[in-house]
Assembly symmetry: C2
Homo-oligomer: 378 residues x 2
């Protein structure tokens, strides 16, 4: 694994900063500090909470600021509802420093900074997408942003050098960096992150009041749809509040589509024999087809164009080592596993592993696995 | 793998029927026939489509009916919109046979059979949950129902023997059988299957019109929420039409919750400094918290009560054999993997494997993996 980290580290440039001050030592702040420490940056870690501060210092995420060193760049890792105030204070306190942040909403904090007369030439927004449901410094990892998308949000035309600093730090975290405006960022995350969270919560809420025997029928579909419904209500209230305008636009569009489906399904429920509900089936089919189209736009691995991988389903006994034996046999067949989906359901002591491979590799893999005694159906 | 099938087959009872006639050789029909053949049942396979019939015979799913053998039980594997007509015809044509079906909706076909004066003492509904997005006999597998939930839906008080036949066949398929009424079944699948499909399609639809750079930010959350949005529009139109009344009830509840969120987010978007939107944050937090509660009801593996497994995240280089090496090391540590979630994102040549284990096993596993050189953060 050390090899792997070194290999990918070859793609990283050391950021053109010597000392980075990280303010806020929750999951994201502590992970940023850990990642920069790995590159020998001297991360300083003031945090309003003495407990969190001591904890993240113990975790190796930096040394406590001692007042003697002036940072080149400051990363404010505060929650969306307070980030603008912290950035404002830090810009005012250190008149030469460039300040960036990591909040998952960008337009509202920027508006607040602008209204307060902050020096926007020295501010560049950032949003490394971490994608964990857990929080706190204990969950921090130096590799939290490896291979994740990350945005750098330029705020004013004159601060090209600040944008370059922000990009360099994001690249140093191992993230894949793209640059967009605050409005573009907030519109994008409303669609690909914030509204999916609302939808998952809406579906999961319906599971509260059904009988046990109904939830016992839950298969992989509802499990996938509701996985992120386990996320933190307090944090998501901040995120949805912080991006309310963009989220509202998308939710209104979702509600219009839902209204059309409800109208169609109501008509189908009221349908009398011999008097089919006009257009209702077309409305339902249209929604599912539109979903096909949208789903197909999600990019494949490594930023490649979406690929239709072929799933190769294999029955795996639920005993230690069986899945390893299967994947060893996949590797021995010279096939690269593009994705792996392990499907459990109730009542049986084994699972189905769906191994996704490139279409050209599927037939050979099936032959190789069958030859080694696996039950494969593809 | 043969061992595994034999082990679990030990839990199956051979059904008290000698000849099963399977009508319809799509994914489900051909898989039922394959599963019963494995138990030496003599499955007969008439199908209206000569091509599908020849294909499934070539796949070993039974012999073509020759008119000389009288079946004890008939499984009608037709799509939801025609299943009642086929069952009706088969009940009339063979006055001693018990007929079951596999359609994913139960109340509407039953109503139609009842209205047409069918002999309901010889009909028992069934619904083995297959959970595949693909279709057709080519995708059929004898183990399609292994460990899946399956319902048997009794239709009349006097047909206890027929219900027992249905249960016995479902058990023979390897499924975990529960018994409920048609209305209970349809209410349950509306919540755990049909409405999640609608929600996934609604979210995925929104991805159609956003810029490429927005979909490039897609992380694991939206991928999970929209996975089933890739499903077949024609089949889902039949399913949603066939269960319109129950789906409509759940969709109305979802729309009421969505209306509340839209009102709250609209208020937050319009919020002026110093004039916070009353109750809007509580409404948003309430939805996410309700989602937490619903999500927590989904049962764990093997029908056990929901367990909070501990995720152990490990960085895995994207090369053939690396995941196998990791899982070999997990097995060598004597730890049973409860679930595995492989997380890809764009732009980096490795993935994060989140290995879910029982809480008591986590600390030992982390020590063992770190000792073998893996990068683990737990």
């Amino acid at each position: 694994m050390t090899d792997a980290v070194d290999t990918s580290a070859g793609e990283r440039r050391r950021p053109p900063v010597r000392v980075v001050r990280v303010v806020g030592t929750g999951l994201v702040g502590a992970s940023v500090a850990l990642a920069l420490r790995r590159l020998d940056d001297d991360a300083l870690l003031p945090d309003p909470s003495p407990t969190a501060l001591a904890l993240s210092r113990d975790l190796g995420a930096g040394r406590v600021v001692d007042g003697g060193t002036e940072p080149d760049l400051e990363v404010v890792a505060a929650k969306p509802d307070v980030v603008a105030d912290v950035v404002l204070a830090e810009l005012a306190a250190r008149p030469r420093e460039v300040v960036t942040d990591v909040a998952s909403v960008k337009a509202a904090p920027l508006r607040r900074l602008s209204d307060a007369g902050a020096d926007l030439r020295r501010y560049v927004g950032g949003h490394p997408l971490a994608g964990r449901e857990r929080s706190g410094a204990v969950a921090a990892r130096a590799d939290l942003f490896e291979g994740r998308p990350s945005d750098v949000v330029p705020t004013a035309a004159r601060m090209r050098a600040a944008v370059e600093l922000g990009r360099a730090v994001a690249t140093a975290l191992g993230a894949r960096v793209s640059t967009m405006t605050a409005a573009e960022h907030d519109d994008a995350v409303a669609v690909v992150s914030h509204v999916p969270q609302v939808a998952a919560s809406l579906v999961a809420s319906r599971l509260r009041e059904v009988p046990d025997r109904a939830v016992e029928l839950a298969g992989q579909g509802v499990r996938d749809v509701t996985r992120i419904a386990a996320s933190d209500p307090a944090l998501w209230t901040q995120i949805l509040s912080g991006n309310a305008a963009a989220v509202a636009r998308v939710l209104h569009a979702v509600r219009a589509d839902l209204d059309a489906v409800v109208t169609a399904v109501d008509a189908l429920a009221a349908e009398a024999p011999g008097a089919p509900a006009d257009g209702a089936r077309a409305a339902v089919a249209g929604l599912v087809a539109a979903g096909n189209e949208g789903r197909a736009r999600i990019p494949g691995k490594h930023g490649a164009a979406p690929t239709r991988y072929v799933p190769v389903p294999v029955l795996v006994p639920d005993r230690p080592g069986e899945l390893a034996r299967l994947l060893h046999d996949v590797g021995a067949a010279g096939v690269n596993l593009e994705d792996l989906h392990l499907e459990h359901s109730q009542g049986r002591p084994h699972a189905v592993a769906e191994i996704a491979v490139l279409p050209a590799a599927a037939a050979g893999l099936v032959r190789a696995l069958v030859a080694r005694g696996w039950t494969v159906h593809a």
